[in-house]
Amino acid sequence: MANQISGIHSGEQPIAGNNSGARMLLDNTTLAFFLIDRKYEIIEFNRAAVQLSFNTLSTGQSYTTIFNAEQLTVVTPSIMTAFEGKVSSLGVFDSHNKNYFSLTFNPVKNDQAQVTHVCLVMQNITLQKLEEDKVKNNQRKLDVLINNTSDIIWSIDSQMRLVSANDAFHKSFENYFKKKMEEGEPIFFPEWSNPYSKTWKELYQRALRGERYTTEELTEVKPGKQGFHEITFNPILDDGNAVVGVGCFLRDITERKDIEQKLKYFIEQYDIVSMATNDAIWDWYPDTDTMAWNHGLKTIFGYEEKDITYSFAWRVEHIHPEDRERVTQEFEEIFRKKEANYSSTYRFKCSNGAYKYVFDRAYVIYKNEKPLRAIGAVQDIDERMSYLEEVRKLSLVASKTENGVVITDKENRIEWINNSFNQMTGYSIEDVLGKSSEMFFQGPETDVEIKARIEEKMSKGEPSLDEFIFYSKKGQRIWIRQSITPIYNDHGALEKVILVQSDITAQKHFENRITTIARELADLIEHANTPIFGTDRNGYINEWNKVTAEITGYTKNEAYSKKFLETFIEPDLWPVVSGKLLYAFNGTPVSNYELPIKTKDGEQITILLSVTPRRNSSQEVVGVMMVGQNITELIEYRKNLEKKVKERTSELNEALKKERELVEMKSKFVSMVSHEFRTPLSSISLASGFIRKYKDKLSPEEVSAKLDNIEKQVRNMTFLLDDILTIGKSEAGKIKTMLSSIPLKDFFDNIIIEVGQSTGVTHRIDLITDCALDLIQSDEKLLRNIVINLLTNAIKFSPGKNEVELNVSCKNNKLQIQVTDHGIGIAKEELENIFNAFQRGQNVGTIQGTGLGLSILKKAVDLLHGDIQVKSKPGKGTTFTVTLPLMYEEKNYAC
């Protein structure tokens, strides 16, 4: 404005021609007008001036009153310049109210062109200034920016001429073309042999069409140096939105591109690694609390997308409750200490609820003391932890066990021993470390066989279980049971060898004792003086002591492994015997069983057996033991005894029977006798009663007859008594034979007469003798008895048949008396019983008889050591033949 005012051309009508109008103008402008005369006094001012003044303003005041001292230093020269006729402009700053003022001193000339006054135009240009300053600042900044950047910035007009360019542009241009491009020059020129020039042209044209865009081009900004450039084209529009130019902005993004490539590469690498790694990788941005995971979360822990919340809290939630606090604290500690590396071991929850041991390693990036980013790799160490746990347990076992544990390397050099080993052997780790485990079985009593076997197994890397004598540090003998277990790694190579040893000294002693006892027992069995043998479950002989061998004739070798049943027992006894054995096999002992056994010679012996089940240590029956007694002789004895008993019993029975018979006979005898007596007694009673009762009526003959009858009865009874007495005597053995010489002929003659008389001479008895002897020796009484009995019987039992033959002969030292009748005879069935007392033939009818006759006869014959025979035919007759031994010497025989 000041310029404009000072730029008033002469010749034009001035405004001051009209005062009131001028005054109005002056008072309504924001410009402050001061008119200063040559006295440097203000003679005129406007309203704005008043407002602008720092102090009170009045005419006649020196101009200096408007300004402060500092300002005057620059104002005064200016005003003076103006009074010299030159327009002077300057800026002034009021530090008091922080305002900027622009001052223009305009010389006022009179008509003579002399400067009479100076018109000071003052304008508060604070805002402007500020704006200007701002713009200037911006400009400056922009310039700085523009010219300090390596980015190339230029603009072209619609004719593709350079309008402006920054330093970088020029520099690049110069570098390239070795000359400077001026503003206004076309951006392309023919000599420009930039291979990209065609592309450039297109790019400009595109922008000139009004398109605002950015493109990445591979181009050169230095000769020979290709690079990636990012070029932005901004079409410049005028008010009418017509494109008047293009603002261009070129950035070398080669490096960036390079970095981008590298980054891409790294990301690819990362992805590959991330894919390849078995770890679960997490990536956490604390400020947004986003935590990303790679696929490891699925592969290791089994989580699907839907199960995962990508926040830090989710991870913490899935840490094992027992580890959570610790892990959280660790993390906070790291943050607090601003440490970059973090690692921790904890248990992480899998999708199935189980926990896995993990090793988490993280790297934290801080910015401005705050964690910007953390990346972690979570490694599944569960197996390893389990393995470690196992190892821990095992080592606990190894340390606590009472067994000695020795661990060697694959060369059998001792690496480690447990406490118990030390206790057991006296060797400490220092004593044995590095030494071969073979040192343990090196004593004089060590079984070389076992040693060799162990060594062989160790060399082959095979497990082994052995018992041998071990020498403690003090040289004490210990019985050791040792197990050798080779340990192979995953590749099948031998890594370590573990030896576990237990002290079995006591056990061995016990075993020895047992063995001794067993041997003693075996001896006991072998040399027992009774047969002891046994079989297994299948019946094969597995026990056979000496005595058994002796009595059976089979040696132990012969008997062993033979089937007991088939070899020694008769087939017909197999069911029974195997039944007994079965009892024993089922656990029930059998005692006192008489077992017949075949010996080797084919004889049979009998063993009284006890069969006992034989049990093993688990109480199962594994066979039978049979302990026996050879009772063959006893059996014989018993048989005999039984036989004897039988015999005796039957004898006894016989005797009893006879006894009974005898008793019966006796009672029969008694009743018969009483009966026999009663009959004659009845007759007597009747006869005598008759007489008494009818004596008056009876004739003497009748009476006499009765009396005869009575006498007859008495006589009969007497005979009976005699017979009975005879029997009695003979029974009692009281009859003694008295031998005397008997004249044969006389004897028999007399008897015949006697018998005839007593029987009423009803029969004729023919006597035929045939004996050389005159005398015979015998008991006369008995002989009489015999002959009389025979004859009377013959007569009695042949009523009507009157002939009876009596044959007497001597032959072979024997006297034979034969009596034959032709009477009723005796039935065949009755012949054997006729000599029994009171036996009467069925056919005797009314023929009188006691029934004792023949029995007496028999007795007499027996007493004379003779014999009596009977031959008879019922109805025809009977012949009795009595044979008696003669007492005479041979010389008496005539024949």
């Binding site: 009743s671 009483s674 009966h675 026999e676 007596f677 009663r678 009959t679 004659p680 007694l681 009845s682 007759s683 007597i684 009673s685 009747l686 006869a687 009663g689 008759f690 008494r692 009762k693 009818y694 009526k697 009765k706 009858n709 007859k712 009865q713 009467r840 069925q842 056919n843 005797v844 009818g845 009314t846 009188q848």
Partner: protein, 115 residues
């Protein structure tokens, strides 16, 4: 009817009974007795028990089966001792044991015969 095997006794008995006025028919054994009884019905049968050929027991049994002899009283005159069972089994009207005094015998007989 008198049945008795011993001849002397038979004789004595017969004589005694005849003297008393009884008519006496004799037999020496059971078979003989039956023979006679088949056509002759006595007022009284006196029999011994132990006899040959057919003893008294059998005879008595046989008599009991004979309707004609139903009303005829039976007297056993025997030496054989009998117990109560045997006696009742025989079922005789009277049993007399030998020897028996004449008076007793005659009295018993007259009781039976004449009521």
């Amino acid at each position: 009817m008198l049945v008795e095997d011993t001849p002397d006794l038979l004789e004595n008995l017969t004589d005694t009974l005849r003297m008393e006025g009884y008519e006496v028919t004799t037999a020496t054994n059971g078979a003989e007795a039956l023979e006679i009884l088949s056509h002759k019905v006595p007022d009284l049968i006196i029999t011994d028990l132990v006899m040959p050929r057919m003893d008294g027991f059998t005879l008595v049994k046989k008599i009991k089966t004979m309707q004609s002899l139903e009303k005829v009283p039976l007297l056993i005159f025997s030496a054989k001792p009998l117990n109560d069972e045997e006696t009742s089994e025989l079922g005789a009207d009277l049993y007399l044991k030998k020897p028996c005094p004449v008076e007793n015998l005659l009295l018993s007989i007259s009781n039976i015969v004449y009521g």
